[in-house]
Amino acid sequence: MTEIQVGRAAAGPAAVGRPPDRPEVPAIELEGVVKDFVSRGEVVRAVKGVSFSIAEGEFFSLLGPSGCGKTTTMRMIAGFEEPTSGRIRLHGVDVTDVPPNRRDVNMVFQSYALFPHMNVWENVAFGLKRKKVPEPEIRRRVGEMLEIVGLTGREKSRPRELSGGQQQRVALARALVNRPRALLLDEPLGALDLKLRQQMQLELKRIQREVGITFVYVTHDQSEALTMSDRIAVMNDGAVEQLADPREIYERPATAFVASFIGTSNLLSGQISAISGDVATVRLGDRGRVLLNGGGHRLGESVQITVRPEKIRILPGEPEGDVSAVPGVVSEVVYLGTYNSYAVTLDGGAEVTVFEQNAHDSTGTAERGDSVWLSWQPHHSYAIGSASSR
């Protein structure tokens, strides 16, 4: 495996966004970026004022459902779309009006967009040739890059002679060989099957560590984002709902949308009926109680609480002590190999999903129709949309 140095000296003379190295300047900055599209005379606002900054060397993901504006946001960073308003800066230099061929970022397209009439070598060398890099250096760098992505020996192949995974690697090599300040990846693993996708996720992470380049990764696959990212911006309907590291996003979702989009989540609502010290209690039906950490709650306040399915335990009787305790009836048990999934219908009619590790024996703790109690620790309850969660 070749280590490639993160040398910048050989970059094109015309590239914008390549000032002297200043680590304190963010690699990419978006400030109040808005994008309107006109469709049949109607203005559609695809991106509604997005601001964030991405640090040098960071693996940053834009995560959201299709149509949330994540791809448009990325295309504005690449220069393919012009923001309606707002500014985009690369390393402190405003590039909002700079065309894509003069921006020092490169993109990996969802369809790979490999040039079908060129072989692997010509594809990868394309960017360096445009920048008039001397021929011996092109040969050296393309060779190195093909070694990193494991395609040495396939130089003369046409893209259509390669498998999906190999095409993906060529697309990656073609972008990375230019040593861009940031690499933009638009759902690059979407076309691969599950096994290959998981393998490529680790591969991407390894390559990113090796070359030390900022990665901006667009995906609708939450597990992909959680696996690879340093930070994730969850987008919905043209706006960023939450920007945090994967653990924070998963454990402490800022909005109901984030809670439901990332993993499986149970959403319970009720009113605060008691506060004792740092713990608030929410009554749920006649017999149920949900305990919740964190101050700032008022008596009688309406709250929405999320709790992750794997944090909940199923018990035959009512638990004692400072834990949440909610009664219900098991309505469905699904065996999923590494864990069992239970659907429990609460007294009020709400349905709660519980995951239980398949650690002990093949039969689960409860069967369909059993009356059970659900229990979890106060710090696993997380109130959203209230003052304390923001």
Binding site: A78, F80, P100, V105, M107, F109, F115, H117
Partner: protein, 278 residues
């Protein structure tokens, strides 16, 4: 076929539910296909054959023995040679001019929506579907009104006019299926607008450009109706043949027809092989 394969084939044949007439239907399609091919090819075969006819009189209609004389005396009739050269020149010019203009129109229509693009598409299809006799007559009255002397160049203008739509439509169809992100990828990798066109767009649409241009050549070289209106004193290959029908068509015409057809077949074969490689 080895015995194992025979056995396997036998099994599948036996397993397949017997449908009455399935065998006959398959054969019928075969016969029908060959009938159609014969129907299309017979006139061409006759043309080629009579290029080898050792005819003595003015009429080349009855078989009188094999000769290669007409190939040797291909350019013996001066007027016919001039007409053929005219036709080839006009067809080449038409191919080049309509090829360039049609490619630009096809690119614009396939890539962009602009004010008037709908009207442009309509005009393209109108030009394709318009009856030649009407187009010829109106072109003639236009040239007369504008006092343009009829001849070689009015013929070229007319041919470009009616064949450019075919090029544009062919190129547009090709442009529509080229992945747009290829051009974006080229831009992203530092290519200027012109470099993107030269290195990515044009190679991608080239099959369409080639097909459209060859179509323009083929349409031009055998056009009679429009040419008859606008050519003035310039005689083209089809016009000369039409004139010769009254006094008898010499076998050289068959030979020239055969050669033109042969070049066409050669290009089609090359295209088929090139297409498979691409």
């Amino acid at each position: 076929m080895n015995t194992l394969e025979q056995a396997a084939a036998g099994t599948t044949a036996r397993r397949r539910p017997r449908r009455r007439g399935a065998f006959f239907r398959g054969r019928l399609l075969h016969i029908w296909t060959w009938l159609v091919i014969t129907w299309l090819f017979l006139p061409i075969a006759v043309m080629i054959l009579f290029g080898f006819n050792d005819t003595r009189g003015r009429y080349n209609q009855t078989w009188q023995g094999f000769t290669l004389r007409w190939y040797a005396e291909l350019f013996a009739i001066d007027d016919l040679t001039v007409a053929l050269v005219n036709s080839l020149l006009i067809a080449l010019l038409t191919m080049l001019i309509a090829g360039v203009l049609g490619t630009l129109i096809g690119l614009a229509l396939g890539r962009y929506r602009f004010r008037g693009s709908g009207l442009m598409k309509l005009v393209m299809f109108a030009a394709i579907s318009c009856a030649e006799i009407i187009m010829g007559a109106s072109l003639l009255s236009m040239f007369v009104t504008l006092a343009v002397p009829l001849g070689f160049w009015t013929t070229v203008i007319a041919h470009v006019m009616f064949s450019v739509s075919f090029v544009a439509v062919t190129v547009r169809a090709r442009v529509m299926v080229v992945d747009r992100s290829l051009e974006e990828a080229a831009r992203d990798l530092g290519a200027s607008g012109w470099e993107t066109f030269r290195l990515v767009t044009f190679p991608m649409i080239f099959p369409g450009v080639l097909a459209g241009s060859l179509l323009a050549f083929a349409l031009s070289i055998d056009d009679f109706v429009i040419t008859n209106f606008v050519s003035g004193g310039t005689v083209t290959f089809p016009l000369w043949i039409y004139g010769a029908t009254r006094v008898g068509i010499p076998p050289q015409v068959n030979v020239m027809g055969t050669l033109i057809f042969g070049v066409g077949v050669l290009i089609a074969v090359l295209n088929a092989f090139g297409g498979r490689r691409r």
